[in-house]
Amino acid sequence: MTSPTSTTLVDVRDLNVYFRVRRGLAASRSIKAVDGVSFELSPGQTLGIAGESGSGKSTVARTLVQIIRPTAGTISLDGEVVTNLKGSRLRQYRRRMQMVYQDPYDSLDPRMMIREAIGEALAVRGLAKSQHKDEVHQLLHRVNLPASVATRYPGQLSGGQRQRVSIARALAVKPEVIICDEAVAALDVSIRAQVLNLLKDIQRDTGVGYLFISHDLSTLRFMADHVAVMYVGRIVEYGTSDEVFANPLHPYTRALISAVPSVTSRGQLRLKLSGEPPDPGNPPSGCPFNPRCPEAIDECRRERPELLMTSSGQRVACHVVSARQHRESAKESA
């Protein structure tokens, strides 16, 4: 693993988030929603986290904003360790990392006017009430909404408009990082493009970092500079966006990418993924992907693969890939 550089914005090390489940009078079980996850985010960049449901990506998001407490591991923001903050320090931290949620309706209080919803964020920032009106208009303008939206209720807006309001609200506290948890998944495709472009604009202007979580790879391809692919709570592949999409190494990543319909993929072999993601409370032994993996070898069933760097600079957690790398480097040095 590369050591965190001084320019790293967010640094997450060995994050574990385990949930205890009680089964009556029997012993309790742990569900390892996030199991040993590490990643970095540099300022002004976007890290995309890809994965299906149950992969733990939303849990990572909620842990970063401290809605869920991690069981182990450290989170650092700007070099400062911020795991397990409490009280006023927690409140100060909260302003620096904001989130835009998947559900455009429920993330805005249906009984609050838009200007009140954004005003709430402004109040947290400490802005005087007299200046709220102007600031709200400015923020709305920034997300390309007319000022008249301020006096409306969420129920009167469309999904795309609501998401823009959520973005405005997140921007209101001037955060350093914005986590987008499936922020465009519930939107129509045409609206999706608008919102994504808006997000990119904002990043260009303000230098805010994004943690973009999505199950949709084409969105990630567009948005992310780096990509981490998660499966059952672990990162199985990690690299720059170009690397991962052009040269996916992990069998899971390859299957996901080949499932993305594209104009140029006519006639290409589609890697079919059979079965379903396993129950996070009872993952298979060894590599969690091995029951579905077309290339699984013996070792895959026995031992869990570590996330290792390949010669190309990508990181993959796969025995098959590691074995192949060994063979190739052995061949070269031979």
């Binding site: 949620y101 209080d109 009984r111 006096t151």
Partner: protein, 310 residues
């Protein structure tokens, strides 16, 4: 970037969702919905009538309810039937029934509203605290609520009055102490589910403090429930007060109370059936009006709870 024109914003989403208090169109839509429902109109009209009668009783009632008229009793000393003078007849002491009914409205409404208001206050506070804070606090509070709920409500009130002594003040306190439990349970359930809503998570992420979250996000969502249960609570309180007065341990004599009038009428029903019928009908209409109003409010504000047995 495309900006939607104003007209588009207006056209979108005239919701079939429950109406939001404070929304610009709310009162207009509520008014229209009311006018389409004659039963609701009648109920509210009746309640308004009662309120007027209660407040302006001294001006409206034809006679002093406590005055025992000499011409209120026949030769044999029996109550006089309804006639041109005493519109609803007189009771066994020669007092005008109509006037007593009007003053009785004052008692019933006052007890109903105050007891329910008090019960709502207690119930909302306890429900919100236990739902929001959770943990041991919630367990303790809810166990306590369950315990109080285990007592059949009338018997409970009766026992408390027996211990504290019958008086109007005690009646109000006792009813409030019995009724808050219903609100506490419902509010707790609502707060539990509200806590998980994404906009509450969003507010927490923003760094909004807990008290502010309760005040600005949770309370406004509780308002419909409070209104509905409040209305039904008035109906229940009025019934309990009438029952207590019927048993003779409610509002003390000689103040007029519908329950007490019914109790008296019970003894004379062979001779003077109007003594039993008049207060009974008024009582039924009042409770019915509040129940129907509560129904309409439920449909307006909180349709989802319609099938939950209240």
């Amino acid at each position: 970037m495309i900006n939607l024109p104003e007209s588009e914003l207006n056209a979108a989403f005239v919701g079939s969702e429950p109406m939001v208090l404070g929304e610009p169109n709310f009162w207009r839509r509520a008014g229209r919905s009311l006018l389409h429902d004659p039963i609701a109109v009648c109920s509210f009209a009746f309640i308004a009538l009662l309120a007027v009668a209660a407040v302006f009783a001294p001006l409206i009632a034809p006679f002093n309810p406590l005055h025992e008229f000499s011409n209120g009793l026949s030769f044999q000393g029996a109550p006089v039937a309804p006639n041109g003078h005493f519109l609803l007849g007189t009771d066994a002491s020669g007092r005008d029934v109509l006037s007593r009914l009007i003053y009785g409205a004052r008692v019933s409404l006052m007890v109903g509203v105050v007891a329910t208001g008090l019960a709502s206050l207690i119930g909302v506070v306890i429900g919100t605290v236990s739902g929001y804070v959770g943990g041991v606090t919630e367990s303790i509070l809810m166990r306590f609520t369950d315990m109080v709920l285990s007592f059949p409500i009338l018997l409970f009130c009766v026992a408390l009055i027996a211990v504290t002594g019958p008086s109007t003040r005690n009646v109000v306190l006792v009813i409030a102490f019995a009724y808050w439990t219903y609100l506490a349970r419902v509010v707790r359930g609502q707060v539990l589910s509200l806590k998980e809503r994404e906009f509450v998570t969003a507010a927490r992420t923003l760094g909004v403090g807990h008290l502010k979250i309760i005040r600005k996000h949770i309370m406004p969502h509780l308002l419909p429930t409070i209104i509905v249960y409040g209305t039904l609570g008035v109906a229940t309180s009025i019934l309990i007060e009438a029952s207590l007065s019927f048993l003779g341990i409610g509002v003390p004599l000689p103040q007029a109370s519908w329950g007490e009038m019914i109790s008296e009428g019970q003894q004379y029903f062979q001779v003077a059936p109007w003594l039993l019928i008049a207060p009974g009908v008024v009582l039924i209409l009042t409770v019915l009006a509040f129940n129907l109003a509560g129904d309409w409010l439920t449909d307006l504000l909180d349709p989802a709870s319609r099938d939950m047995g209240r």
